[in-house]
Structures are given as C-alpha cells and as structure tokens.
C-alpha cells in the first residue's frame, strides 16, 4: 500500500534528520582527533616553557610545526568523507597563526603571559561562533576554554605555565574525549 503524502513527508524529514546527525557525528569525530592532537601539543608547549622559559620562542616554533604536520596527516584521514578538508584546515590554522603574529606586532611589547592569551582566546571565540552556527557542543568547548584560560591569566600568580597547560591543553584533551562520546 502506498503511503500518504504526509507519511512520505515524514519519511523525508526522518532522512534529513538522520543525515544531519550522521554529518555531525563525523564532524565531531574529525574534530576530536584534532583537539586531542592540539591539546597534547599545547600542553607540551606550556610544560617546556615552564621548564625552559628562556627558549620560549624556539619551543613554540617547534611545537607549532610538529602540530601542523601531524594535523595535516590527521586531516587527510577525513579527506575521503569531507573533500577539501586539508586546504580548509591549513587555511584555519594559518589564519590563527597569522592573527597571533599580527597582534604581537600591533600590541608590541607584550609579556609572554599576555602573548600566551592570544591564541587560546581567539580559538575559543572561533569555537563559539562555529557552535552558534552549527553544532552546540562547540559553544561549550569555546566558552570553557576562554573562561579557564582567562582565570589562569588573572589568578595564577605562580606556576603560570603549568596552570595554562591544564587550562589550555587539558580543556582540549577533555573536549576531545567528550566529542567521541556521541
């Protein structure tokens, strides 16, 4: 027996709903891998900065290069499902790095403590914007990251880089695990 037009419309709505859910699931999975990578990378960057503060620039240069190379490799895994993801990924990471660089130039001189806030706060804002447009979990991740890093900036008088390692790297790692629990 042929379904009524109402039933047909309901079936098409169900298909759209599942497809949106499946797309979100794949998006969260791909993002989860990146969050884990950059969580570990940022955590290590902060820890090494805490241990060897005079090598700050070298440490972050090395950390960013390692993160970028590994990130591109991870993005390639998702290329099959999301064509063009590698170029979009490079564009996003490149924009974040360029933003951090330009802000350092504009605001110079910055203390390392001030400079350390640029990337996490910018990335947190991007996550909130992305979440508002598509997937709500990103709003929580962005808001959490901004809040914890800013609290760290305001209140961590001693062992600043260790606290930032937890606030920045730790938030990314926990967020990664959360996104996997879809």
């Amino acid at each position: 027996m042929s379904p009524s037009p109402e039933e047909a419309a309901a079936a098409l709505r169900a298909i759209n709903s599942v497809q949106a859910r499946a797309a979100g699931f794949q998006d969260y999975r791909a993002e989860s891998r990146q969050l884990m990578l950059w969580g570990v990378v940022n955590l290590l960057g902060c820890v090494f900065t805490a241990l060897f503060p005079s090598f700050l620039l070298l440490i972050w240069l090395a950390v960013v290069i390692v993160g970028l190379v590994a990130g591109v490799r991870l993005a390639r895994i998702a290329e099959e499902v999301m064509p063009g993801i590698v170029w979009r990924y490079l564009l996003v990471v490149g924009s974040v790095l360029l933003f951090a660089l330009l802000l350092h130039v504009v605001m110079w001189p910055l203390t390392p403590r001030q400079g350390s806030m640029i990337v996490p706060l910018f990335v947190a804002t991007l996550y909130v914007i992305r979440g508002a447009q598509s997937r709500p979990r990103y709003v929580i991740i962005g808001a959490g990251l901004a809040l914890l890093c800013f609290c760290c900036f305001l209140f961590a008088t001693s062992h600043y880089w260790w606290w930032l390692a937890l606030a920045w790297g730790g938030t990314f790692i926990l967020s990664s695990l959360w996104l996997r629990r879809t």
């Binding site: 079936a11 098409l12 169900a14 497809q19 999975r29």
Partner: protein, 101 residues
C-alpha cells in the same frame, strides 16, 4: 500508484540506510557509531541489519582490532540504488501536492 520499498520504509531500517548513504562508496561505519546515530539498542540494530544484509542492501564485516572484536557496516551498490529509488518514490508521492499548492 507509487509504492516505496517496504524493506526500507520501516523506521529503524530507514535511519540505517539514510546514515550509511551519507558515506562514500566502500566506506565502512562501525556498529557502535551507527548505533549512536540511529539511536537504538544493540539487539534492535543487529536484527534490522540482518534483514538488510539478507536483501543485499548492506554488507557487514567482522574483524578484530587487537583483541577487541569490531563490526563494520557498509551500504552495497544495490542498497545505494534502492535507497535512491526509495527517496525518488517519496518525492513522487509528494509531487502532486506540490503542484496543487
């Protein structure tokens, strides 16, 4: 009179087919991931997958990752065609309404 494929028209199987159809051909989705997307129980999903596999609409692969068993599911060519035909049938059912409005 347009009649959609009864095998796909069942709500859980419809969700399974719609979810698998978002993947590229020959791309596999893990059972646990599919369960999360379809939002059903292991037993229910397994039963409906069995029905779809019987019709050659899906392929199921079981293997091990280390010592952990893993089940993966993929839409077959026949399944992909059947789903496309099913969606086209639904649109055809709605078409006269669209003309009226």
């Amino acid at each position: 009179m347009q009649t959609p494929d009864d095998l796909i028209h069942q709500p859980v199987r419809l969700k399974i087919m719609a979810a698998l159809n978002t993947l590229a051909s020959n791309q596999w989705l893990e059972f646990v991931s599919l369960r999360a997307i379809v939002d059903t129980t292991d037993g229910n999903l397994g039963a409906h997958l069995g029905t779809l596999e019987g019709a050659d609409y899906v392929r199921i692969k079981k293997d091990f990752v280390g010592k952990k068993p893993r089940t993966r599911v993929c839409l077959s060519v026949k399944g992909r065609e059947a789903f496309a035909h099913y969606v086209a049938t639904l649109h055809a059912i709605l078409a006269p309404q669209n003309i009226d409005t």
